[in-house]
């Protein structure tokens, strides 16, 4: 069987090889493809190849017929002498003729237009078009890679800027917390003097009823101011991550009762009904931070009373869920007050936000109470929320996750637990015995401490700095020591450590740090220094008594030196 033979007419051959040419044995052009003849007119019939093209590859000693014939398998690269046309192909010798079969070599599509070529000038089988597509696509991929790299660099720069901004914000926040700590100390110290002396003034039998009214009014205003400072301080502590929760045994029923008790007068003045419903399945004993629970509840109740012109305010508490170790509770405060618009509800729990500006003018306040409540609830593993309808009233709620007795730590009625002695809350029913040391550099606060401690039946030695305190402790066995935190030579914690070192082998004397800088002295710092309790400045007489009751023996048969009216404040 014969192998098929391809016979092409000159036109077919020219279409298949539009860039071909044929040379005779003297290397003269005897035939040229139509396209090549068009773009390279100097390759005229009868002209010498060497006149219009040089051979770049292969390297030949000379452009003679026989020399070229010796390279039938070589890739020939021909460069146009008076132009940029470059041909690639092979030389096929046949019957003393050389056939060049090839096509232009281009690496970018614009080369074609520069050479005066278009797609239809190429044979269909010629891969030049595909090569150009491929090269352009490679260029596009490179452009994509560069764009990706640029975006990555941009993101890295943004990230670096964000980190710097976050560091700046953190530094500003720390500076703000420190500023607030100092300011709160500076404000609370004189306020302690004012409130402490006013509290004691109420016990003065010689005051006329009018004077008593003035004193009570001054105390109320002082306490409002203290409340504002405490709000700002609490918020700063939460923001700075310095607010830690207590975990003591307490009763939710008691917390609710105390909160209601505290707001009962305000409700009565507006003729509002106050009620409470605690579901039967709420455990009677729980572990958590009753002070903070009470704080949130009082905040809700005070708001409810403030914004309710008529009707009632009620508290509901119920169990959401419980397991062997924990109980999830929800406490709600419902009022029949003015209600809150839907738009205001969304931002009510944000910082420094009240329902609107007119609310601030009408009802006063910093707008921090709800933001603090939210943060406290979150710290307690719960959340906050509200439902409200304008003109009909509101329900504010918070939830908390509390430990159940026997989960993790056992109840210890002697230590850490919330005071359950109702006698403490009543004036004139509690006095203590013993000798205590008070170290305080501020003369007014010395007087405040002295008056209150003496009124509670205690014998008090007062010193004005840390060194004097250490000397006194070395001389005298005290039942309790009260140390101001900020004193000029040694601060209260340093004195506390020094006393613990002195007394390490003997009986442990209770030490209370008295401070207006609650941001700086947390429970952890106190425990590390060997302290037993913290007393804020200013303090409530009830808080002082509760604290002393943890450490001092009571005087059972003695009548109180504080008259009943002292608790009017």
């Amino acid at each position: 069987m014969h192998e098929p033979q391809l016979t092409l007419s000159p036109a077919q051959f020219s279409a298949a090889f539009p860039f071909h040419f044929v040379l005779d044995e003297w290397m003269r052009v005897v035939q040229a493809g139509s396209v090549l003849a068009r773009v390279c007119p100097e390759l005229a019939l009868g002209s010498m190849l060497g006149a219009s093209f040089s051979v770049e590859r292969p390297s030949l000693p000379g452009l003679e017929f026989d020399t070229v014939c010796r390279h039938p398998a070589a890739l020939f690269i021909l460069q146009q002498r008076r132009g940029s046309l470059r041909l690639r192909g092979q030389m096929v010798p046949q019957q003393r003729k050389l056939f060049f079969l090839g096509s232009p070599w281009v690496t970018q599509s614009k080369d074609l237009s520069e050479l005066g070529l278009s797609l239809r000038d190429f044979a269909v089988h010629d891969p030049v078009t595909d090569l150009l597509f491929h090269l352009q696509t490679t260029n596009k991929s490179l452009a994509d890679a560069q764009e990706l790299s640029r975006r990555l660099r941009e993101q890295q720069n943004s990230l670096r800027a964000a980190i710097l901004a976050a560091e700046g914000a953190q530094a500003a926040s720390t500076a703000k917390s420190e500023f607030l700590a100092i300011m709160s100390h500076e404000i609370r110290t004189p306020l302690n003097g004012v409130l402490g002396l006013l509290d004691h003034l109420l016990t003065d039998d010689d005051l006329t009823p009018t004077q008593l009214g003035h004193v009570a009014g001054a105390i109320r205003s002082g306490k409002v101011l203290l409340g504002l400072i405490n709000d700002i301080l609490d918020f700063s502590k939460v923001e700075a991550g310095k607010l830690t929760l207590e975990c003591v045994e307490f009763s939710l029923q008691r917390v609710v009762a105390e909160a209601l008790d505290l707001v009962a007068d305000q409700a009565r003045q507006k003729y509002l009904g106050l009620s409470c419903d605690i579901a039967a399945d709420v455990p009677t004993v729980l572990w958590g931070d009753p002070g903070r629970m009470r704080q949130v509840l009082i905040n809700y109740l005070a708001n409810a009373i403030k914004f309710t012109p008529a009707g009632s305010v009620s508290v509901r508490a119920f169990l959401l869920e419980q397991d062997a170790e924990q109980a999830w509770l929800r406490v709600e405060v419902e009022d029949t007050g003015v209600g809150i618009s839907e738009a205001s509800q969304k931002r009510l729990f944000e910082h420094f936000t009240q329902a609107d500006v007119s609310t601030t003018r009408k009802f006063k306040g910093t707008g921090l109470g709800l933001a603090i409540s939210k943060k406290l609830a979150r710290l307690m593993g719960g959340n906050v929320g509200l439902r409200s309808e304008q003109g009909k009233g509101s329900i504010f709620w918070f939830s908390a996750c509390l430990k159940k007795p026997g989960a993790g730590r056992s109840p210890d009625s002697e230590g850490g637990g919330e005071a359950t002695d109702t006698a403490l809350a009543r004036p004139g029913e509690t006095r203590f015995t013993g000798r205590v040391l008070l170290a305080e550099d501020d003369a007014v606060n010395q007087q405040v401490g002295l008056l209150h401690l003496t009124a509670l039946g205690l014998t008090v030695d007062v010193v004005e700095n840390g060194l004097a305190a250490l000397e006194a402790v070395a001389r005298t066995p005290y039942a309790l020591i009260l140390l101001d935190y900020r004193m000029p030579d040694m601060d209260g914690l340093e004195v506390c450590r020094a006393i613990r070192d002195m007394h390490s082998p003997g009986p442990r004397v209770p030490i209370i740090i008295w401070t207006a800088s609650l941001l700086e002295v947390g429970a952890k710092v106190l425990a590390e220094a060997g302290g037993d309790g913290l007393l804020g400045k200013p303090f409530d007489p009830y808080t002082l008594k509760s604290l002393l009751a943890r450490f001092l023996a009571r005087d059972p048969g003695t009548a109180s030196a504080l008259p009943a009216r002292a608790m009017l404040s």
Partner: protein, 195 residues
């Protein structure tokens, strides 16, 4: 679809409707990508989601969006570096349309996962009229082809009237016929594939 197509859609939306709308379309389509890569093959469904989200966000039907994109596609591919290549395939609209199928054959060699459409051209009843036959394994892209023809008309400076003669979306492969009438009589051009 290759990333180049999605890049073209992105370019169209950014230019016509703004960067924010493109970001919103990506988010709505649930596509979390910094950018599409031209040579990467993405599932068709990604382009479908982009068109769907764009249609909802921009308040226009998916057909209108596809047609606008088709018109922009010619401009975009030229911008993306293929302008000279396009020029190689014809200096008149008719020549380009005749060569359109060949163009896709060449592109197939560079984009190996491509499922290219097929085009053929017939002379219509008058000298101004040609019929473009479009065949594709993909459904729903007829509006894109109409836009593509409009874009080509702009490229060659010719006002076109395009009529969708045959709608056979449910067929597989899809076979659509478009009657294209040029406002000015086209210069003589062969209406058969180049060999």
């Amino acid at each position: 679809m290759y990333g180049l197509v999605n890049q073209g859609l992105e370019d169209y939306v950014r230019q016509q409707f703004g960067d924010a709308n493109w970001a919103a379309i990506l988010a709505r389509a649930g596509i979390d990508l910094d950018m599409f890569i031209a040579m990467e093959s993405y599932p068709d469904e990604v382009t479908g989601r982009l068109i769907g989200a764009g249609s909802e966000l921009l308040g226009m039907g998916p057909e209108s969006l596809l047609e606008g994109f088709g018109e922009h596609w010619i401009l975009y591919t030229a911008q993306a570096g293929y302008g000279d290549m396009l020029a190689m395939f014809g200096s008149t609209l008719q020549e380009f349309l005749v060569n359109l199928d060949n163009l896709h054959s060449h592109v197939t060699l560079t984009f190996p996962a491509l499922r290219p459409p097929s085009f053929s051209v017939e002379q219509g009843d008058t000298a101004e009229e040609i019929h473009v036959h479009y065949r594709s394994s993909r459904h729903g892209l007829a509006p894109f082809v109409i836009g593509l023809l409009r874009g080509l008309g702009k490229r060659f400076g010719q006002d076109l009237t395009i009529e969708h003669l045959q709608a056979a979306q449910e067929q597989s492969p899809v076979h659509e016929v478009f009657r294209v009438i040029c406002a000015q009589p086209p210069p003589d051009a062969p209406c058969t594939s180049r060999s």
